[in-house]
Amino acid sequence: MNYLKWLLLSGFMLSIYAFQCNLECYDSMELQNWSAQWVDNSGKEPQTVEGPAPKNAFGIRLKADPVNQVRGSSDDSETCFPLLVHPFTDISLITLDGFDTIPAQTDISDRFMLRYSTKTNLEYISLNNALSTLSELWEITDNSFRFDLLMVDPPSQPGNYRFSVQLRFDTLGATVNRDTLLILPTVTLQ
């Protein structure tokens, strides 16, 4: 009878352990110190550029520092999904001077897509649908939170253009993940 009791107890402990192993874990974090760079997506992977960029392969890389990170697992070797404590609520891109038939100060977010690349997949996601992807499951690279917004519908003519990016979060007045407006310097599109 004693053996049976121990057997049942061992089975119970084993099932709890197995259940715990299957639970997904999340590393929660917040973001600050946003910055932006131009991206040239002409090659196999997007590269940041300082000078002119090809208009048909132009993009914007947004970058922030993850702060107040809390590990979702006590096991240091376990990889957890990143999770923003205060998720994105809006990402908007605005043309400051206008181009083609678009007037100045117009929201042109629908001309940009989020480049979502994993080891097994590459997708372009519209900014409307990108918010949850960015707020959860977004990989941290070199201890930096960064993503590329590709201009899939560029201006018809080469020239100098100015854009701004508005990032909004569900912050509820927190000091980090603040709503951020980035006014980008003039970029020359070739």
Binding site: N41, S42, G43, K44, A57, T120, L122, Y124, L150, M151
Partner: protein, 252 residues
């Protein structure tokens, strides 16, 4: 592997003992034969340079064969062969081939399969003729059969240089026969060690005709394009050299 070697050795020793017990002359006699052998083979790799996702076909390496046959008094014989040959996985060449087919694109091949290196089965039936000599015989052969080739679905993507455009392709094998037609031409030299048992060495050339149909779908920057079915038709030559043991199971 070890079990197979033990089996072959035990069988050999048994036959030697059986042969020693008898004083029958060691010369070719019509009857039933069975044999086991190991061989080394080398095959051309025509699928390496075409888009044939995850195809796995015979490659260079070790293989094993079992044969059974009957020889008639007029020296003609019939033989059935069951073998396994080493294979080579063709996925490595696909990126280069896709880039060659689509100038101005960077290929990015995404593994979508669990295929591993494995052995390919060969099955064949054919005819032999025996030229007896002292303590053995020489036996040319011609056989027809099939060689197993594997194919699996795959998912590739290509990035267009100078733009954001991406071409995503998916491939899935359809109507691919399990065995590719194969012609075997060879010869072997057999030597009796006892009246019922002996050793042999053989050389065999092969011609394999591969034919695989793939269903292909394509998206260019996530806009679906018309679907397509294409056929990969290639032939390959191969050669095997090996050695083994034979048992004469019946004489008349």
């Amino acid at each position: 592997m070890t079990t197979r070697l033990y089996f072959i050795l035990s069988l050999g020793l048994l036959c030697i003992q059986a042969g020693r017990a008898q004083k029958a002359p060691k010369q070719w006699t019509s009857g039933l034969f069975g044999s086991l052998s190991a061989h080394y083979g080398a095959f051309q790799q025509p699928l390496r340079n075409v888009v044939s996702p995850y195809s796995v076909a015979p490659g260079s390496g070790l293989g094993f064969q079992a044969e059974g046959g009957i020889a008639f008094k007029n020296h003609l014989g019939m033989k059935l062969l069951l073998g396994a040959v080493s294979t080579s996985n063709m996925e490595a060449g696909i990126e280069k081939e896709l880039e060659a087919q689509n100038p101005g694109y960077y290929a990015d091949f995404v593994p979508f399969s669990d295929f591993q290196e494995r052995r390919s089965t060969q099955l064949a039936f054919g005819f032999t003729y025996a030229f007896p000599f002292k303590n053995g015989w020489f036996e040319p052969e011609i056989m027809f059969g099939g060689t197993q080739v594997f194919a699996d679905q795959a998912h590739t993507r290509l990035k267009k240089a100078g733009s954001h455009d991406i071409m995503v392709m998916q491939y899935r094998p359809v109507n691919t026969p399990p065995l590719s037609p194969t012609l075997f031409l060879g010869a072997r030299v057999n030597r009796y060690l006892t009246p019922w048992f002996g050793i042999f060495a053989n050389v065999r050339g092969m011609a394999i005709w591969y034919q695989m149909d793939y269903w292909a779908s394509q998206e260019i920057t996530f806009l679906p394009q018309p679907e397509d079915i294409f056929t990969v038709k290639k032939s390959a030559l191969g050669v095997q050299a090996g050695a083994g043991i034979f048992v004469q199971m019946g004489k008349w």
